[in-house]
Symmetry: C2
Subunit: 210 residues, 2 copies
């Protein structure tokens, strides 16, 4: 397809597409004339990935480049590739955490295997320390409830991961960046739903038709 | 306690405490002399709440003020107070969504009652539209899996809410702002745990000791 068709298909301004080409985020099309190139479905897909990472997830260009490189060359070890790609997503901690006592205790309690060097480890430690500082450290019971529910979500996510390595990396990155806001919004709406049942319609608790 | 003790107890610099006092976020202590005032446990608690909202959740002062006003005067209708307070948390949408087709369909599928004017409604619509634009709209199966798990989390959260109205509002606001990062970090670690079982130790799948 012509670049005009790529613009139309992706809903992305020509200037943005040219910027992606110039920055090497989007591979050049196959040249068909001195000033014309032919683009494929792979280009359509790649533009969608770049826009999701930059405009929705707010990643800087360097991090997008890092992730695209893993999608393009995941290498032999898919588990390591997934970690590298998802590890390039925000939030970015300024200082790596040397000690992770709260995260360590939580992850052990939930019986999960983890790599403390994985960015999510410091992210969890920081989040738990903040909750503690505000006087709301998680009880063991709360951690267990969250662990079971989040475990079910993660199991669904991993079971639905496509088998081809490049597609798996792309799915993991987009599924993390794009579905985190979905899950948080759903939780807020579920809070409203449950609080309404408790405070407004206590008689209807447990009865979705109530 | 003297202000020096408040500084020590909250780990907050004196300049910051003075700023909170000047801005009216922190009520003045009881004057004990021309230049001295007496502070209570309520002040310790309030400083922790302000810091969690400003430094962890990144709220602007005006929004913190809004939330503190609801904590201090929740009024007769606790359900409405919870909505006002949690609705003052980020993310802040620039434009309110007039139509919420994706969110509407998702919430109906999950059998939840909602108020489309609640900020989380536009947040869900925006998040689902972004996933769709990136070619990853949620399947019904994915929505169902997420809905069950998030529903269990929300039920735990609401069941553990303290009964007194002011405390309930404070709990709802801090539980939302502080536990969203915890849940996201846990999901990333759970992904790593499940991916490791699938890709590295397939024989150990389902066996936490494997």
């Amino acid at each position: 397809m012509r670049v005009s068709e790529l613009v139309r298909r992706t809903g992305t301004p020509l200037a943005t597409i040219k910027f992606y080409l110039r920055e090497g985020l989007l591979p050049a099309g196959r040249a068909t004339a001195a000033t014309q190139a032919d683009y494929t479905e792979d280009h359509v897909r790649r533009v969608a990935v770049i826009r999701a990472l930059s405009e929705v997830a707010g990643l800087p260009l360097a991090k997008i480049r890092e992730i695209l490189a893993v999608i393009d060359e995941p290498g032999e070890d898919l588990f390591a590739a997934l970690g590298r790609a998802v590890g390039a997503l925000p939030p970015y901690r300024r200082e790596p955490a040397d000690e992770l006592p709260r995260a360590q205790a939580a992850v052990e309690r939930l019986g999960m295997q983890w790599d403390p060097a994985y960015p999510a480890a410091a992210q969890l430690e920081h989040a738990l320390a903040a909750a503690e500082a505000a006087g709301l450290p998680p009880s063991g019971e709360r951690l267990d409830a969250y662990g079971v529910a989040i475990g079910a979500i993660a199991e669904y996510d991993i079971a639905a991961m496509p088998p081809a390595a490049g597609s798996a990396v792309e799915y993991a990155v987009l599924g993390t960046a794009l579905y985190e806001p979905v899950l948080l919004a759903l939780r807020r709406i579920a809070h409203q739903d449950r609080a309404r049942r408790l405070l407004r319609d206590p008689g209807a608790a447990g009865n979705p038709d109530g």
